[in-house]
Symmetry: D2
């Protein structure tokens, strides 16, 4: 399969998530980075391009300039990755679709539900691929869990416990000028959600992906513990699912001792599943009245959905970059429309992205309006 | 210290918790079981007494008979343990106090807040010891956690995550006649709470004990997943603490893969703590910006409150019976009023018991009334 | 079943293992402590007797005095527990057998193989029960492992990895006068083995018990790391089993970070097992080509040998005292010769004790003679 | 830094380790694969080249052809990766050095100590970089452990426990024609070591790397458990280190339940360390008389040697490919001789490779000669 030609908006030198996207695109050799509009500062953009070994002519001052110039090239970029702060996703994504490019956008899709709905409509009209990088669903054992729920291994779903605690914002890091902290705690750049937007939306998507369900209603209690912080840094959410299942979601950025501790537990009528991001190659399965079993990536009996997302034998750890790369490689297959394999592609779409934006909005509304149930 | 002479109401042959109380009383050699009114069936009561090696003259047909007869003896029982189904706790406890005995009562204290309040009043007037066996606070590392919170090791409390999932009622076990399941799912015997009463109240007490705080308000969503069950078998509760801390409590008896998985996590401004009942000798401590530390029972640096509750060197596991015995031994010290050591006694009192009853009532009310905040 | 009347030699105030034996005897209510000869110091012996609530007339100045006096009583002690330092086991045990008492002796049985053999002979002639408290085989999941090996769950045994690291003697604790450290590092009191005798013999017995096999040969490398220590504090041993299985044993008392970390791993042709003393309620089972399973005490499917040694439901931790109590209770059944249940009794006998002494001797010899194979 | 132009010998379609080397080279964008001689079958070699997107003119029929052709190009490959079966390493590596290329060779370096010594000499004379991919030392927390030992965090080294159990050869997989199993169990292709060569040599190198020590003597007991297998599939090794430390090494390919369970434990006079490959981002540190600490990749206080090998924040798992890529990137720095950073390069050299070959030979000799000590 020929490599997809990729451009990038955002992600200049020093940006964390831009480097992650590039490594993810590179890992399975499914993309070539051909151009970028990395920052709004021409000198830093140029330096980023040189460091990445790009043709200087294809390092652009802005995304509009890039889209316009690339459209005219025979070897034009085919897809663009958007890794800017959240509040810029919408305008860049819209412009990319209008210019005819496939879009890969970091989450959350937008900071506003109207804008998100607009991108859903535009994508449908465009015939382009639009992916939102909820990267955690690229982990093989997450896909294993989804396959097991789908085939009935835990029976009717009853309880969904999902949590995503982190510790890095337990103090007023933004006051020190820490770049990642500053924009994440600024409503103008992040949107209305703090922890709930930055990581709660990952937890929400993970629960939806594995259960193949979306909650009907949420009830939330958001808190800002760090003095002076305007966005939430701790979120407690109750969820009700369509067929009677109930859930709890905890997202926190003030939880000492938790590095990146996304974790999902599902209890069904005939069994339970548990997965934790910090030990991603493992999935606990507790069938009723039998000993718990530790399923591992790459081991006998793992579902084909998980097997397909696996590079290494069991016991050879795969991690965050590999899961991210799986999302990227799945997207490349959809872009290439390879009929035999596109059917297997399993990545979060613009619709999933819009749902995440809706979730954030509903949680914020519930918390503001006295912790009442809000329909999604 | 002379052994405390103990009587028992309930706990005949085949009863789980009666045997646990007796082993707990025996383990540290602080009690002698001298009499009992084990069941309402004379033959089974007699057989229980024989099996326990009691003087047949002190195996009684009812608690009233026992209290009346024992009062007249020179070697009368001094304290009574009440291990009947929940709905009988009140009348037995009341009669015991009125007859002048110390009382050790299983939880929940009563099935009704009025009755609980009555016992608080009667106890105050009686000058007797009244203990409620929230046994999990007997674990040394729970006491270590309490000591650490008290001395400021995690700073201002922010988040309380407590959970108590079990699996044993995931199916309709009560329909098979299983004795433990039948009374626990019967409102007439258990009171208004199902999982929230049976185990949620343990989780609540644990959180209160370790944080030395009581939530001001709770908001709850209770569910009965097993068809035909009238009491909740899954409880999701949000909590608000007086000084701004927020909490989540999950209690479930339909969670496959969880045997007795009580777990408490506390996040404060400068650190976190985590304790799990199934690995009770361990306590995780995460101080800000330092590696997590695994504190263990019996190891250097453990607080005196934990050390005092320890029998064996580090690495020699203590378990459920030892923790239960620690509660019993603490109670015996209070009964003996040994001035030097009674100050160290640390066991749940009738006030704690009444608070637990109030918690159950508030949770049930919140769930019935549309999941709104209810003050405790 | 009537309680067994028990006497004790050794185990005065402050002795660790004496208190453990008494709690173990008491836990299941199968024994009554009736007399003792606790120390060679009359005052301390008396004080110990008072603290234990014994009849002062039955607190004796020496074991000979006790055996002589008790023989004459109608309510004489029936069995004696020997918890003196190792070098005294032989003479006390011999005298007890000659006086017609059942014997429960701490390990190692003796410090010398000749003496051990003598006790085996005397026991056979006496018709008395002689138990050696290798207490770790009282854990239910150890018995589960033994049952699984016996019924072929892991197929032909191939590899035995057993280890017992501790940290408490990593420094020259004996130089501070620490009582436990002093006698354990003194060949005159401990015998020829240091770590290999104190804990290596436990590891050896555990491996033999679970596999139902005894190594034919051992090859060992013993070291004394702490300056001035004459006995080994670290032991590396290779083992060859009769039917081709091979093993490694590591015992160490200088291993920081290990509290009491006895652990056994067995690999067979069709599966593996792993058990660790610090998480005693769990047993890992890895059948070929299937996910690992976590078996737990008290859960469905556990073998009757394990079930019988269980007091509490799954998830309610049992620990060191419970396992020790199981050994004691099994011994009491043998003493009572209750035909229906004695067949289930499963405790280490004088023969197991003698084998342990032989193991220590062989390991010491191998290490002294250039690390060559020594037959057991 | 300009990408290093890389060629590959071996590693055609379907080969496991070839794909791993390519992904490792690609991950940090430090190499460009420019040519290859992938198999001895021209059609499969061509197909491999096409799949990898290589210029067909640079897909060669043999390594000699490749070396000869590439030497003449202005854009010639600079380094060659050798991923053939073990018995071919020597001739290819020798030819590569003679042709002036840098060499990256999979382990073991050769199947014979003479050949290994020859490569050490040739490398010294050539002025080229020669790396042997003991990839596990690329893990950041392995480097953390090495830094901690070096700076004295555990004091004088006493005990080294290293093990590498796997399960995949527990049955006669080679009899099914399984390619990986066939060559690894064939002395003609693998050399004299089975499990000890394939994975024991990794364990040995890991222990040497972290302790910065090489054992002086080894004593080994090798076994072939699977009927018909001529090479060892289980290895038990005792080790003696120069300054008095003692060690045990267990390598097994018949250990059900162990996927790739390389694990190192070090006990020193003042502390211990433990690292396990299947949870590579974690390192346990037990300082004397203090709680155990769980150090994690990317967290505050981690040594610069570990920090430099880290791509992602703490809690975002890195795995096997990342560690392998770190080795590759370190090699690229040495090749580029970037003075500022080459000093940091930390990868196994031809000398380490030769030492591993010597280790395998000594272990095999010890086992054959009655399990006696053999000097390394």
């Amino acid at each position: 399969m020929e490599r997809v030609r990729l451009g990038m908006v955002g992600g200049g030198q020093g940006a964390f998530i831009g480097a992650v996207h590039r490594a993810a695109a590179r890992l399975d050799d499914a993309y070539t980075l051909v151009c970028g509009a990395f920052t709004s500062d021409p000198a830093r953009t140029r330096a980023s391009g040189i460091e990445l070994g790009l043709d200087p002519a294809r390092v652009y001052g802005s995304h509009s300039e890039m889209f316009a110039a690339e459209r005219k090239r025979a070897d034009a970029m085919e897809a663009v990755t958007i890794v800017t702060p959240n509040h810029l996703h919408y305008s860049v994504a819209r412009a990319a679709l209008e210019a005819g490019f496939h879009v890969i956008c970091d989450k959350p899709l937008t900071t506003d539900t109207m804008e998100a709905a607009d991108l859903v409509r535009l994508t449908a009209a465009s015939g382009r691929v639009f992916a939102v990088t909820y990267n955690y669903t690229g982990y093989p054992m997450v896909r294993q869990a989804r396959a097991m729920v789908a085939r009935g291994d835990i029976g009717t779903l009853r309880v969904v416990q999902v949590e995503y605690p982190q510790e890095w914002l337990a103090g007023p890091l933004e006051a020190t000028g820490h770049k990642q902290a500053v924009w994440r705690t600024d409503p103008a750049q992040s949107g209305p959600g703090g922890a709930i937007g930055d990581i709660g939306s990952h937890a929400f998507h993970l629960a939806c992906f594995v259960t193949a369900r979306v909650p009907e209603q949420v009830l939330a209690d958001l808190t800002s513990f760090v003095p002076g912080r305007s966005l939430d840094d701790n979120a407690h959410v109750l969820m009700r699912f369509p067929d009677g299942a109930r859930g709890m979601l905890w997202a926190s950025q003030v939880a000492h001792g938790y590095e990146n501790a996304l974790r999902l537990r599902l209890c069904g009528e005939t069994g339970s599943l548990e997965w934790a991001q910090e030990e991603p190659d493992r999935l606990w399965f507790a069938p009723a009245d039998e000993p718990r079993r530790l399923l591992t990536r790459g081991s006998p009996g793992v579902a084909s959905e998980a097997e397909r997302a696996t590079r290494l034998p069991a016991g050879h750890p795969e991690g965050y970059l590999e899961a991210f790369a799986t999302i990227y490689t799945d997207i490349s297959r959809a872009i290439r429309s390879h009929p035999a394999i596109a059917a297997d592609a399993m990545f979060p779409s613009v619709v999933d992205g819009a749902l995440g934006v809706r979730f954030i909005a509903a949680v914020v509304q519930s918390s503001r309006e006295g912790n009442r149930w809000i329909a999604l």
